[in-house]
């Protein structure tokens, strides 16, 4: 990477990373469409009852599994790309400033999944408490979270927060390492600020490798938490959850764009990707 093609190569890896993200956003959009369709069948089509409810449950289950496998694919792809160029993932140029301000090790905090469950499980109930108490929601969505499920979600939360803290602490150590040997000493001893040296490059490469490892572990926790959560929820609740999480993610992306424009940050000012990810 230290050869003269370095610039060109790294920009192309940047483009590939951007493309990977853009594809992921687009895939999420199409997944969302399918999930929403399954959750709100076309008007006129009654919710299947009785015998067919198991097949509908299967459909929910399959779609959840497919969505999760898409998430897995994305993680695998980006882990590979991150091996070439990790730093960009910690503040991606293809994400909005808003999104970047919310990143935890290059993605969402896994504990956010649980917060989302809590938000969804309560939102229906408050709308009409007395009616809820008389009839229940009985629509099989997250508002119907049972006592057992609630306690499982709670256990998952405790575990997830613990794992998150552990990794946060490791990231802190890695970041502190920068102010230590060898980089701090190399910088201090340099006659010119920013002077490159083989030693410095090697230290930075090592650091980036460690950062890439942390990213992979963070992704592992994200995926594991999502899978365990979907294991606790019924397939229909799982679809409900996935719809809400995709909508939140995609909305944040759009809201972020609007805010960036508002503050005079034009995403085009940065190196544009081969194709724009704007739709419509």
């Amino acid at each position: 990477m230290a050869d003269q093609d370095g610039d060109h190569e790294s920009s192309s890896s940047h483009d590939r990373s951007h493309t990977c993200f853009r594809d992921w956003i687009n895939l999420q959009k199409s997944d969302l469409d399918q999930l929403v369709k399954l959750l709100n069948p076309e008007s006129g089509v009654e919710e299947e009852e009785g015998a067919s409810s198991s097949s509908s449950s299967n459909k929910h289950f399959e779609l959840c599994a497919k969505t999760v496998s898409h998430f897995e694919d994305y993680m695998r792809n980006r882990a590979e790309l991150a091996r070439e160029d990790i730093s960009i993932y910690f503040a991606p140029s293809w994400c909005t400033t808003l999104e970047n301000s919310l990143l935890w090790i290059a993605g969402c905090r896994p504990s956010m999944f649980i917060r989302l469950v809590y938000a969804l499980c309560g939102s229906e109930m408050e709308r009409n408490l007395s009616q809820f108490l008389l009839q229940g929601t009985s629509n099989g969505l997250l508002g119907d979270l049972s006592a057992g499920q609630l306690s499982s979600v709670n256990m998952l939360q405790l575990k997830t927060v613990r794992e998150e803290e552990k990794l946060t602490s490791r990231l802190a150590t890695l970041q502190e390492d920068i102010a230590d040997q060898p980089l701090a000493v190399i910088a201090r001893g340099a006659t010119q600020v920013g002077e490159t040296s083989e030693e410095a490059d090697k230290a930075l490469d090592d650091h980036e490798r460690s950062m890439a490892n942390i990213l992979e572990e963070a992704d592992k926790i994200r995926l594991k938490t999502l899978k365990e959560l979907l294991g606790i929820l019924t397939p229909k609740q799982g679809v409900d959850f996935l719809v809400a999480s995709k909508k939140l993610h995609l909305s944040l992306h759009e809201w972020g764009k609007k805010r960036d424009r508002l503050h005079g940050r034009h995403r085009d000012a940065r190196k544009p990707p081969p194709q724009s990810d704007e739709e419509s």
């Binding site: 504990s111 917060r115 809590y118 499980c121 309560g122 939102s123 109930m125 408050e126 408490l129 809820f132 108490l133 008389l134 009839q135 229940g136 009985s138 099989g140 119907d144 979270l145 049972s146 006592a147 057992g148 499920q149 609630l150 306690s151 499982s152 979600v153 709670n154 939360q157 405790l158 927060v161 019924t234």
Partner: protein, 409 residues
């Protein structure tokens, strides 16, 4: 406090929602039970039965005694032998068994029809740390040698600073109480609940302070803030339910609420630093209440009583306030909960939800998962529903709710 409670109590007097006939029948049953149980004790008339005794709360200030003198006879063995002796006097072999082998008996007794059904939910919620703890021990002790004198214990502890004080209360409070109950010099005499609860809380507090000292050298999270390890404490709201009474001891801002005839009756009053009598107590002890994100003792702690918090003594005390309430036929349930619930759900709403949920309305056929062992599904569902309501109303704290079904079958 007294005013508030009395007002609520008089509100609850006309138990609207009960059919007169079944209500009368229930009361008759109740009275039979009561006479059998209280035989030899002073007898309340049926009017009195409906009215919770909320006396003593205000006067408790003066009755505070030196705790040290009361610690003298807490030896567990002494307790067991004393109760065994007392029971032997009455030639009750089974009871003796229980005195000696209390743990083994417990599970068996849980099946007894008089054991109230209960359930609980306790979640971390929107906090990243879990500092609440819940402990339920049906039939944890008995009041006398009478066959149906089982005492049932329920407790909610909401820790602050770190979770270890709340956890220790969960592990130990019931045992401390049990030891106090069973070390009475005369096990046939009625229990002086006020003195007993005060002794128990003082003892629990002492244990916790010892624990804090040892933790200074351990790997507890709060050890990172070593000078502040003393700044760890917990609320404690403890209810003991007997066949005819509900005894609630409270320290801090968790709360016990009785649902009686569809109305809410607070059985404890939160210890907030700006409660006039508490403010007065703190200031006469030389402390100050400073408004810093709400009223706080010395600008630090947002409650005026707690277990632990050694560094805030004598302003923050561990002395509980106690209410003793006679059970009534129209009692529906008892709710104990941490402020994660009460911050966003009023006593009345909580009772409304609990009443509906327990009466079987409102819970449709849905794949409810099983609760914990020994728990009652309806109670677990009720506590879960209240927890969900708290989360729905954006409670930002840990939420813990215990629901005890007081209806007699």
């Amino acid at each position: 406090m007294a005013e508030i409670c009395c007002e609520v109590v008089s509100d609850s007097e006309p138990a609207v929602s009960y059919e007169p006939s079944s209500r009368a029948a229930r009361r008759r049953r109740m009275e039979i039970r009561k006479f059998r149980f209280v035989a030899g004790d002073e007898l309340d008339n049926s009017e009195n039965q409906k009215r919770p005794k909320l006396d003593g709360q205000i006067k408790d200030g003066e009755t505070c005694r030196s705790n040290s003198a009361l610690f003298s006879r807490n030896c567990r063995n002494a307790a067991l032998s004393t109760i065994a002796d007392g029971l032997l006097d009455q030639n009750d072999a089974v009871e003796m068994d229980r005195g000696v082998e209390s743990e083994a008996m417990e599970s068996e007794l849980t099946v007894c029809s008089e054991t109230p059904r209960f359930g609980y939910a306790s979640v971390c919620g929107r906090r990243r740390d879990m500092e609440d703890a819940v402990d339920n021990k049906p039939s944890f002790s008995r009041e006398s040698s009478e066959p149906e004198s089982d005492l049932h214990y329920f407790g909610v502890f909401d820790g602050h600073g770190c979770s270890h004080v709340a956890m220790r209360c969960r592990e130990r409070m019931h045992a401390v109480l049990k030891a106090e109950i069973e070390s009475r010099p005369d096990p046939t005499s009625p229990i002086d609940w006020r003195a007993l609860m005060e002794r128990s809380f003082a003892r629990m507090d002492k244990e916790v302070i010892e624990l804090n000292k040892t933790l200074l050298r351990s790997d507890c999270r709060c050890e990172l803030r070593t000078p502040e390890c003393d700044a760890v404490g917990s609320t404690a709201v403890v209810a003991v339910v007997s066949r005819d009474k509900i005894i609630v001891a409270n320290c801090g801002d968790s709360r016990a609420v009785l649902c009686r005839g569809g109305k809410a009756v607070a059985l404890s009053s939160d210890h907030k630093p700006d409660r006039p009598d508490e403010l007065h107590r703190i200031e006469s002890a030389g402390g100050r209440v400073i408004y810093w994100d709400g009223p706080r003792v010395l600008g630090v702690l947002a409650m005026s009583r707690a277990i632990g918090d050694n560094y805030l003594k004598p302003y923050v005390i561990c002395e509980p306030e106690i209410t003793i309430t006679d059970r009534a036929p129209e009692d529906e349930c008892l709710i104990l909960a941490s402020d994660g619930l009460w911050d966003v759900v009023s006593n009345g709403t909580a009772c409304g939800v609990a009443k509906m949920c327990l009466s079987g309305k409102g819970l449709p056929e849905s794949p409810w998962a099983e609760g914990g062992e020994g728990d009652d599904k309806a109670c677990a569902d009720t506590s879960m529903l209240l927890t969900k309501l708290a989360l729905a109303r954006h409670s930002t704290d840990n939420v813990s709710v215990v629901v005890v079904d007081l209806r007699r079958s």
